[in-house]
Symmetry: C2
Subunit: 362 residues, 2 copies
């Protein structure tokens, strides 16, 4: 592809790079920084960041939107296994969508100012207004989807997609079972399974409003939704009706909600753990392993992406954003102005009760 | 192979089979029977069994020896998933070694009276003096090993061998970890791993005599033996010294002893559960699945053998008995006369304290 005009305008001939006058710098930026691990509402601070010089193959982007994911919180707390080292100060955030602002003179990828890009695989430091990173970090994405979907497409939807692909070969008509079905990954599992003709059996907590939650999930395409209490019966499989026994289960809760998945799985089935919202471990009987031949595995997107999967990752992102554009993939989010970062953080930390996922709008 | 003379003598021409005079019958037999499930010392009875007519391709064998395995007990109790239906009466027992006594007239396999044979895969009803079953049931084995090894080679040693093969590709120098290391499967794991150049890290209970038990396992080839209490330290991996972190673990205990295996396994490791001696479940943290990427599986020999593995099974039996003959595979057993079945059963049920595995000698 020929480089577009806008790009050429920003280029500086290679030979003059060593002179200060020819250098490109990012605009001054605002960033959410932390100098040490700890409670996010104590250690995070919004600060001005001076302009950064672009290297020859760097791209400067203006952030459009970035979510506050639970793993972002855990990284700031210092309890996530892979996280930026501090001190010195690190910029928080891990995924998001940006607009190309300026290109280093030797950039070869077909990127133009104004293009939407995401860091793919995601990388640290998305909670800031301008970012400078090498061109290979950025993946151009379609700009005809709501900005909050482009900002969040990797961490949650891609987890759901990979888990449906990587563990058990499923065919149309097969079923999967999951707990934590109202989570965003859970909602994505329902919708992505539906696209593939796979049925979903969904488990949610017993709580006021559970009927409404069931209805919402059914509207997304859930075949069955049970509360944990409903599954507290002797012959749990009689509740499945005409649905096949599931070969694959997804656990993001642990404790009883995980035990229910193990009960519902068919002989030889697999349960994949990707979260532990109840903070309770998974407890498994000996006979589940020996006689029922269950396999228990784990999924961590960050590990998957680190294993030479960059191209796969980008192809799947495009697929997922295509589904968003077609209206086949949706989930609730709230866009919060970056200027009100403190309020968005408090909402993400649960200080304002149950809230939709917070997506910072820059 | 030409059928040996002894066999021809027993043959009856096919055409005369329909006459009663030409029929072959087994000698009268004594068998351990049960008519209903329940406590073995209450429901099992030794009874005379009338002679059985041999079909054209049946083989009548005289049992030499058969073990009392925990799974035999569980089948009689009715708590094992695969077991003979009762009533009518079933003969107990599942493996053993026999001597060919007589051959049906149309038997084509190269078997001769006096040959040692085992039912392979094992099949129900080995606790009786004579058995009549179709020729394909019987696998001829070497007769230069102690009878108790030929009688027990399938259930325990083959479990150890399969578990070392079926889950993780191991290379010489790699390590495995196991609990219940003093069990017969545990002892087989140590010795079979050693033959393959694989190191073993072994966990045993804290108990009087644990030092002696450690010494015994080390003499079999164990690289390290720890009591559970010794592993109750913060940095458990520091105890491994120069041994590599194990990629594979075997759990036949559950509870804390299983948790110790999970702690010792390396990133991405696999734990295979094949027993639950403590009657406690396996409890696994969320992070073991997500961040440590552990896989938990189960192994059940009976399922493995039922999946078209008859030829594999016989080849491996021959390999294992070869190791026995070479002195590379040994474990403690006690031969008990079949006439004292009641005493042998009581010993197997633990009524006489800790006893070696009981093998009935017919």
């Amino acid at each position: 592809m020929a480089p577009p005009t806008a790009r050429l305008l920003l280029r500086t001939p290679r030979l003059s790079l060593s002179t200060a006058a020819a250098s490109l710098f990012s605009p001054p930026s605002k960033a959410v920084l932390y100098d040490q691990h700890g409670p996010p509402d104590q250690v995070l601070r919004v600060a001005d960041v001076p302009p950064v010089e672009l290297g020859e193959r760097d791209v400067c982007v203006k952030m459009l939107a970035a979510p506050i994911n639970p793993s972002d919180i855990n990284r700031v707390q210092g309890v996530y296994p892979v996280r930026p080292p501090v001190p010195p100060a690190a910029v928080a955030g891990y995924e998001g969508v940006a607009q190309v602002h300026a290109l280093g003179p030797a950039v070869t990828r077909p990127l133009s100012p104004g293009d939407w890009v995401i860091p793919s695989p995601p990388s640290f430091g998305t909670w800031q207004t301008y970012i400078v990173k090498p061109e290979h970090v950025w993946h151009k994405v379609r700009d005809d989807v709501p900005v909050e979907y482009a900002a969040t497409v990797t961490v949650n939807p891609l987890t759901a997609l990979r888990m449906l692909q990587d563990f058990v070969k499923l065919s149309p008509g097969d079923a999967v079972v999951q707990n934590g079905a109202t989570s965003i990954v859970g909602q994505c599992v329902i919708q992505l399974a539906k696209v593939q003709g796979i049925r979903t059996i969904n488990i949610i907590r017993d709580r006021p409003g559970s009927e409404e939650a069931k209805e919402k999930l059914k509207q997304l395409g859930a075949d069955e939704v049970f509360t944990e209490g409903q599954l507290d019966v002797k012959n749990v499989k009689s509740l499945l009706g005409a649905l096949p026994e599931p070969a694959l289960g997804f656990n993001c809760v642990g404790g009883n909600a995980a035990a229910l998945i193990l009960k519902l799985l068919r002989q030889g089935g697999t349960m994949v753990t990707y979260g532990g919202m109840s903070k309770r471990p998974v407890t498994v009987s000996t006979s589940s392993f020996i006689f029922k031949d269950l396999s228990l595995r784990g999924f961590w997107l960050q590990k998957w992406m680190s294993s030479d999967k960059a191209d796969d990752c980008r192809r799947l992102i495009d697929y997922l954003l295509g589904l968003v554009q077609e209206g086949k993939l949706k989930y609730e989010m709230e866009l919060s102005p970056f200027d009100d970062f403190g309020l968005a953080l408090d909402k993400a930390l649960g200080k304002h009760g149950s809230q939709p996922k917070q997506v910072l709008r820059f």
